[in-house]
Structure formats: C-alpha cells, structure tokens
Amino acid sequence: MRAAMRFRWAQALVILLLSALVTAALAFAPLYTRAVDQASVSALVEAAAPQDAGVRISSFSSSEPMLAQRPDALRSLLPPRLAAASGPPIASTSLTVRRLPFGGEPEGRVLWRDGMCEHVTFAAGACPTAKDEIAVSADQARVYNQPIGSKLAIGEFDGAVSQLEASPFTTVRVAGIYQPRDGRYWFGENLTGTAESDAGFDTMLAPAAFFDARVESRQGSGEWLELHHGLDLPLRPDALDADSIAPLAATITAFTTFPMGKERAATHAAEAVHVTSGIPEIAAQVAAGREQVRVIVPLLMAQLALLLGCVLWLVLVAAADQRRGEVALARLRGRGPRGARRLLLAETAPPIILAAPLGLGVALGLAALARRLLLEGRPPTELPLTTVYAAGLALLLMLALAVLSVRRLSTEPIADLLRSIPARRAGISLGVLEAMVVAASGAAFLALATGSVRGPIGQAAPILLAIAVGLLGARLLPAAFAALGRALLRGGRATPAAALLQASRRGTTRWLVPIVTVALCLVVVTADVVAVGARNRLGRAQVEAGAPTVLFVNNADLQKVTKATRELDPTGTALTTVAQVTTANGTTTMGVEPAAYQRIALWPDQDPAAIAWDHLTAPAEPPLTLTGTRLRVHVALSSLEPTRGNVAQLPTSVALALQLIDSTGSTEPVTVADLSADGADRDVTASIPCRNGCRVAGIGLVAPPNASPFHANLTLTDLRVDEAAVELGTTGSWRGPADPDTIAIGQAAGGGLRIELANDGRAQTFLAHASIPGTVPALTTAAATPADTAATIGGALMSGDDVLLTSADRIPFAPGGSAKVALVNLDNLLVTHWQGRGSATIEVYAAATDPADLAKLSTALADRGIEIRSVRHPGEVATAYGRTGAAWSLALSIPVAAIALLVAALGIVVLLAASWRARSRDYAALRMGGVSTRSVLLISLLESVPVVVFGGVLGAAAGLWSAPASLPMIPLFPTPPPTFPVDLRTAWSAALSAGGAALVVVTLVAALSAQWAARRARLDRLRDAV
C-alpha cells in the first residue's frame, strides 16, 4: 500500500487534499454556525445600550410612595438564574427636586448610586459624603453659579407632592463639581446636558444619607416622599452566550411580567416594581439570526462539498481507470472482483481516511481564521459534536464514493480490463443516473423558482439549475462538436475540424462541462448575492442614517441650531437642520428644510426631485414676539350685542386674553384685562411671563361659560411691552377661525387692529396669529397614512403637543426617519417651539464626510454654542448590519466561490491530466502524419478551451438567470427593513465581472493544461499504443 501510494504520490496527494476539503467543508458548517451564533450574541450585547444589555429594576409609586421597594428589597426579588448571571448589582435612589421657591425655578434630580464617585471625575471638590452635601456638574456649576461651598435650597416637586405646603425641602452645600465618565456604569443615565442650555439642573449626586435624612416642610419635619429606588444588574459576559441567552431571556421575561412573583402579581406593591431589559429582544434577534444561519451556512457549504465531491469522484474514477492493468492482473491471479476492489481501495481509501482528521483540522483552522478576521465579539473556540458528526459523515460519504468508483472497474470482464482504452458510450443519450440527477435538479429548481418552496433553502436554486443544464450541456456538446467538426472537414478546414472531432469523442468533455458550469454559476451567483447584500445594507444604512453625516445636537435650541446651520451654509447644500418628535401613536413629525433636505439627505435608488416638495409650506408671517414682563395696550370694545337667544344671559364682562407660547413651548392664555360688557376704551396693563420672550399665538375674548352668543367690535392699538412699542401687524398677520362669519379683521387707524367678532356661543373666541400654523401640510410615508393622501393625521410639535397634519403627498421613505413619518416644513416647528426638549431630537444633516471638514463644522457649531453629542454615518450603520448572522453567512459565500473556482480549476487539470497519455499519443500521431507543431498546439487548445468556455458561459448564464429567483429567499437582514425598499435587482457589474474573471481563470487553466499535453506529443508516445 505504501509502495503504491509512493508510486502515485501526486494522485494520493490530490485525493488527500480533495477529501480534506470535502471534510472541511462539511465540518466547517456547524463550526461556523456556532461561531456566528456566539458572535451574534456578543455583537448584539456589545452594541446594545448598557441598560438594554443588563436588567434594570426600579421601584416608585406616585400614589403610594411607601410602596416603593428599597434596593435591598429589590435584590431579594431576583430569580436565582438572573442573580447567578449578573455581576454586582448597582443600587440607586433618586429624587426629583426644584430650586426653592419653586415657581419658574430650575428642576433637577438628586441621585445616589452605589460607587458613583468612582465613575465621575471631580473637577473641583470631592465626593459628597454628608447628608447635606451634593456634587453638581461642571455645566450646572457654571450656568447656575454654584461653586464649591455654595448653598442651594431645594424641595421635592413631583407627582407625589400635591400641595406646596407638604413639599419637603432642605438646603444642601455643593461639595464637588463633577464630569461624567464610564458610560456603561451609568446604565444609560444622562447625568448632564440640561444645565448647559439653561433648561434646568443636571443630575446632582448625593450620598445615600441624603435620602434618609429628616427634612423640613411647611407643615413641620418629615422625609422625602417619592423616592425612586433602583437596582441595575450588569450581566456577566460569560453568562451571555449562545446557549444561555435564551433561558436567561425567558427568566427575565417572567421576572418582567411578575417581578414579585405570580402570588403577589395583583398587589399594589408589585405595581410599584418595574423591570426592563433588552435581553429578551436580543435573544429573539439571536434566535431569528440562528434560524437564518443554520440554513444558509450548511447549504452554502453543502454546495461546495457537492462540487468538491464531484471533483473527488472524477479523481477517484480517473485513478481507478489508471489501474486497469493492475486490476486485470489481480483478477488474473484469481482475486476476483472483491480482491480487485480491495486492491484499488487499498490505494484510494487511506488518503481519504487520513483526510478526515486533516479536514477537521482545516475546518477548525478556518473557523479560527473566521473568528479572527470576519466575526466580531471574540466567539470562543469550540468543537460542537455536530462538527465531529459532519466529519464522520463526510468520511462515510467519501468512502462510499471510493467504493462506487471502483465498483464498475472491479466487475468489468478481465478481457475488457486488458484493453488499453476502455470502451465508451457514444451518442447524446443520458445515463439513468444522469437522467435522474437532471430530473431531480430541474424539478427542485422549478419548485424554488415558482415559489412552491420558500425560505433560505432557495439559495440552492442556482446550483440545482447549473447541475441540470451542465449535465445536459455535456451530452449535447459532443454531438454539436461532431456535427460542426464534420462540417468544417467538408469545408476543408482540417485543423479546427480535427480539434472539434477529438473533443467530441473525449470522455473528459462529459465531466468538464458540468464542473465548470456549477463552479461558474456559484461564482456569478455569489458575486451577485454579495453585491446585492452590500448594496442593500448600504441603502438601508443610508435611509436609516439619513445623510452622509448626521450630528446629534439634542437638548439644544432648535432656533439656535437652525440659525447656525443657515449661517454656516446659506445655500442649504451642505448643512440642514432636522427635528423629529414622535407622537403616542408612533407617527414621527419630522421638520425639515425641504430644499436642503432633498439635497443633503440620502435617497438610495430614489429620485428626490420627483417628490412634491412644494407642498411643504410654512406660514410666511414672521412671529409676533413679546419680550418683557409688563404689557400695555389701548383697548376699545363696543358694547356686547346679542346675536340670538336671551339678552338677559349676555355676560356682564369679558376678558381680553392673549395666547402666549413661551420659550419652552408651553402655550398659556394670559388675561390682559376684564372688560365691561357695556364697552370700554382705555389703556390696560398686565404682567406677562415673557422675560425670555414669548410668541403671540392668538388674541381674543373669553366669556363666562353658558353666556349667550354675542358680537362686538374690539380695537387694539398702541401695544407696548416694557414700554417698547410692538407692531400688531396688518390684517394679513392674523387668521380667524374656520368659520369666516365669526371674525372679521380690519386695520385700525394708527396701526392697530380692529376685530369684529361673534363668539357664536363659545367661551373663547380667538384670532390666531398667521405665524402659527393651523393644519400643517405634510409628506407622509405609507405607514403613516395607510389609507390615502389628503388624509388628516395627528402630528406633534416639539413640545409633544398635538398638531393636525394633512398628507399632501406620499414619500417612499424619509431618510433618517422611522417607518411612520410625516415630513413637515421645519419653520412650522420653529414658530411653535424653538428649544428642543422632551422627546424631540434635533439633528444636523451634513453632506461632508471628511473628518477634517467635520472637525471644522464641529468647531463652528461649538462657537455658536451648539455641542455635538454624537455622530452617525451610514457606513457605521452598514457595518452594524454587517455584524449580523445573515451578513456573516453571506460573507462566507466569497471564500466558498473562490474555493469552488479553485476546485473547478483543479478538476480541469485532473481531467486533462488523466487523459494526457491518450492526448499526447493522438498529437504524436498527428505530428507523425506531418501536422506542424503549431497546428498540434492549436488543436490541443481548440479541443479543450471551447469545452471549458461553453461550460463557463452556461454556468454564468444559469447563475444570472436563476439568481433573481434565489435572491428573495436569501435573508439579507436579520429583520426586514421597516422603511427601505429592498432592491433585489441583479448586480450586473459585479456578477459579470466575477463571471468574466472566473471564465478567464478556467480558460487559462484549460489552455495551459492542454498545451502541457501537446508539448509532450513526442513520437515515442506512439510506442505506448503497440
């Protein structure tokens, strides 16, 4: 056996390598699947916000504060599995306070968190330790002038405090000024960001004793009322792996549903405990990804194994054929078919058996390489039992192939074995096995292409088609070559005719065509799938990111941001501001500057110019702004006249009121003066809360409830705020209610406003300022207005207040927005609310991506008082999608295609090498017959290259044709994109480039192999035939 293997060492090596590759292909699938599983868990956990990657337990009650569970009590609720999986829990207690004396004073939160002082940097002072000490943020210390040692009177002011008199309060001393750090420790708590824009206090850090201390109230001493207790559980990384995440998620889900157990589920105490975690969602994503990976990877590797198996089969058959003489001798010496099989298997089986551990090693090496180069999250090295089973299965299959490959030869009559060239079947008829394979492959492809079978298994469709057409092509090609060769011969073109006729009778043609067809199909489809996947990942990322660069400037002033971006880029080609606020029904009102948004936002595969941007209008009237605290205006009111009904129920007086929107977005009616129903003509004065500026939303009269309808004339002139004159505007500056009969607006002499109004029985009759939008026109996504355009839907202003939107047209998606989006003109949001608060987000979309440009932009914004909190690029989002099981599975197809091409090249070499003696003998005969060396070389090329090119073109065509049927069944994302329309059109350039390159490779290999045989066409080869 060793002598035999030494004699044909190259052949043994090829069998060993191919067998090792087959084993590796099959064993790699479970290894990679497992590694992807682990990497998915790591990637999702790492990408998740700290509070999502852990578990938060909080307890508070506005109605019954005593029910709030303290951290120690919360700790006792932990299920054992969760307790075992978590690191040291972080306890916390917090309280919402406002600076005394409450009215209009900034609000903030006092927080104690276990070990907090180790996770901030003290710019001044030290960690507060006494019950009356706090640490404030550097922004708060600067904006509110709270240096070390300064004192601050604060009181509890939240839902639990119903009466001001009951409010507990205390005085604290600033002991430290901190800067936050260690984001993951804080579990998503935003300690700072509010104070810097003078919108309130940042989080103030206090020792635990602060919350237990007795505090004062106007009713005597007491204690804090609505304490929020919390327990944050960071989960240990080793407790979160592919095996443990699902049971842990189930435990957390049960704990979330019944935090105090099922027995106490309905108690008030249980209602005061809340558990949140992103782990169940992560576990669901892992499970969904696993389903995809467990189909894609094995199928991909099975295709490769199939191709490798075909080539291995060829090598085994060729190896057996080379041993015809030895088999004949064995049979002649009485060994019989069984002995002949043993003789052959003694040579071919050992490399296959040796290849099993080698292939397993290769698979382990490849998995290690994949873990290092492709996967993220450092998945651990593992050897799942399924890998060993797969290697065992590969060994069994290959041994079965080896037995099958020698079966025919071992039973062949000895006399036939002694023939120097075995007899071959002629004609184009298919063998039974081939016919079965063609029929099965064709039927399976049709089932997939017609949608009878769905799912990721659809990726097998192209290779099934390739097998069918490859086998059919291999049968048709020799007949076509023979016919063409004869025609050329009749035309006197001897050289190509000889080549084609030779090719038509070579047995290698039968194998070359399907192998090259399958390999090229795999290459083309892989290139297409990978390119389509990358294109869609980028497209989805572009849509979800919104712009080449998105700068998040939350907690900033919308007006200030918009002013800054308009200053920095007056043309709106490089910068634009986008504000988003989501309503309770999930619809996001997205304020944009239409022209700039159209230009800067990313619209993959869409033409933004086709969108009806001109529908996005905003009031053209500039806002009427009052800045000051004392308002004076001259009022002339006619006596109230009854419109209908009982005159006796006419109000005796009415109030002149203004609707003012303060800088926080709150709209409040302010009574300016009470006016007698008999009429008035005098100056009136009133206090207005507009030190920081207010905008007038409306002006009108407020009558007592149930008063009879009346009409009156009201004239307002000489409006002054803090004695500064304010123009009330023209008639166009005001807008009446929908019913035009109720209010008529006119210009008063001297620049005032004359209003003829009829209250129509309503208590309040207001004239709206034209700068305040009424119903805002919007461009909506289908999810926002599923019924139709022209629908009126509820939107939200920056404050979260409702606003009516009218869908003017549909948009396919809104870059940077969610699925349910209503795009409105940003100016609508600017007039109603100009400081970003609440759930609104403010972003700057930038066309620039160059870090230097972005640094300049960042500096320019900072100069205008705008701090960039975070930056988002489409590439980062696309990278995140590249870290999913689906993407990792598809990425595997690239090396698979490369190996397929390599194997096809090896198959070509093996096939041409196996027939090289016969070829070189034929060429020698031609040379002896006077054919020139050049012509022999040409014949050798014409004999091999067209076969390979035919197979290649057939495979590429099969790939291009079948890829569209296959692509919809291949999951490109772990979850379908909510807005981005997946584009599965063939990536022609990638597919054709890959196909072309692969065709060049196999053609070159075939040409070189053919020439190698032709150069060995020495005349002494003819002696072999004697």
């Binding site: 001798l329 049979r331 009485g334 019989g336």
Partner: protein
C-alpha cells in the same frame, strides 16, 4: 503446487461483436493437450490463437463448445470457481512484460503478490526465491522495475506467471520484442518449468525459431486448427466434421473451387487435382 493438467477443447466457437457485426474468432476448435505437454500455437494475426489462449485462461466464456482443463469444464464454471482456477491452475502470461507486473512493486513483491490468492486457497506454492531462481531473476528481483531491461522484465513476468506453481502455463508471445539472448533465457525458463514441474505449457508465438524449439505446434487458421507440427514434421488435421485444412504452401496451388480426387493408396490416400477435361461431368 498444482498437478499438470490436460487440456481438451471440443467444437470451440467464439463469436464477438465488432462495429455492429458478429465476428467468429474461433469456428470449431478441437484440441487435446495431454498433461505436461508443451504446445505452441502458431498462426497469422487475427487467426484466433490469442482468443483460444484467453478462453483457456478463463478470461471469457466461449460462444459454443466445451473447454476441459483437467476435470473442469470452463464454459460453465461458476465465477468463484473460475477465480480459483485462475489462482491455482492456469496462469496466463500476457503479451508485453510490463502488463504482467504491478509497476510499483519489485520483482520479488510481484511474485509474492501472484502467490497470495493461491496460498489463501490452500495451494502449496514454492518460495518466492525459488521461483525467481527458477527463471534466473534473483539478481534483479529487488530492483525497481523502471531500472530493468526488457529481457529482465520478461523473466520477471514469467516468474510471476509461474509463482503459484500452476498446472497450466499459458504464455502469449513471451519472446516478442526480446533480443536473441533474452529470448533464449525466457524460452529456456519456460521449458525448464515444464521439465521440472511438469507444467502443461501453451505458448502463442509468431517466432519460427521459438516454434522450432517446441515439441508440438498447432497452427490456427481462420478460427480453426489448420495444422500441427510434431518434431519438425508438419501435419494436416482432420476436423470433427471431416474437413481437411490444407497446409499453406498447397493452398496456393489449389485455389478455392479446385476439384480434387482422393485416391486410395496403400498406407494412405492420394489427392489428385482435376482439370476440366479429366473431371467427369454429369450427363445433361
């Protein structure tokens, strides 16, 4: 070691198919080779002598007729028994030395390989060295085959054929493509095997010099036995159905259609060709 076996064929016919036509390779061969005899099969290419040798070796079964080797009738022998026959009784030496040798084994290993099956079946076989010595191949028995001359290879091929100590040695052109010295060595070895072990030997040859060294030759012509030579004398052989194939040199003088008269003579018969005048034609 198998005892020498007699060979008998009766009405042996073998037809094969070539390019859609049936071709009769043998058309009724009746042959008797006593045990321990050395017989040469002669005849032109395509006459059927190699086919006859292959049939005797059990490579394929005859279309009709019987083949007896010892007590065995080969045409109906089950496949398993045929394997045993090939392992123990009849050893075929193929034309072309290399075709008899496993290329990656040495001569010694090849001989051992050829003995394995016979040994497994319980047939006593000589030592490998003994076999090699019997053909004079000990000196190069351990060399790689690629280094050996054609004559050395042929001696090894003979050693392989003799390895299981067969009762019948069937050798197809054992001396072709050999120089004079090698031919003598091979022939001597074959005859020595016959002399020492009593092996029945059937040799196919084109070489008249080799034929001249054999005690009995049988000429196959057109699938039939066309003549026989014994100790330098040529004889025609009457077939089972009474036909008399004429020796070659006479056939040229008596073309097909020639009328002859067979006249009784003392101690024999006289064949007299008839001209058109001398032949008696039937009355009209």
């Amino acid at each position: 070691m198998s005892a020498a076996q007699p060979i008998t064929t009766a009405g042996l016919v073998h037809i094969y198919r070539s390019e859609g036509h049936d071709v009769a390779a043998l058309s009724g061969v009746d042959l008797v080779v006593p045990a321990g005899e050395v017989v040469g099969l002669l005849g032109p290419s395509g006459s059927g002598k190699s086919t006859l040798l292959a049939l005797l070796a059990g490579l394929f079964r005859p279309s009709a007729g019987k083949i007896y080797v010892g007590e065995r009738e080969l045409s109906t022998l089950p496949a398993k028994d045929l394997d045993a026959y090939q392992a123990q009784v009849a050893s075929l030496m193929l034309q072309g030395a290399r075709r008899n040798l496993i290329p990656y084994l040495t001569g010694r290993q090849n001989v051992a390989f050829a003995q394995e099956r016979a040994r497994a079946l319980g047939t006593p076989v000589p030592e490998v060295g003994e076999v090699l010595a019997s053909v004079g191949a000990v000196g190069f028995a351990d060399d790689p085959l690629a280094r050996l001359s054609q004559g050395q290879l042929q001696l090894l091929a003979l050693a392989v054929a003799l390895a299981p100590a067969p009762g019948v040695l069937l050798a197809d052109e054992p001396t072709s493509a050999l120089d004079h010295v090698a031919r003598e060595q091979v022939l001597a070895a074959i005859l020595a095997a016959n002399a020492t072990a009593g092996t029945t030997v059937v040799v196919v040859t084109h070489d008249p010099e080799v034929a001249a060294r054999l005690p009995r030759t049988i000429t196959i012509r057109d699938g039939r036995i066309g003549g026989e030579g014994r100790s330098g004398e040529e004889y025609a052989v009457i077939t089972a159905d009474g036909f008399l194939p004429l020796p070659g040199h006479i056939r040229n003088a008596l073309p097909p259609g020639t009328l002859v008269r067979i006249e009784d003579q003392e101690g024999g018969y006289l064949i007299v060709p008839q001209t058109a005048h001398s032949a008696k034609l039937p009355d009209p």
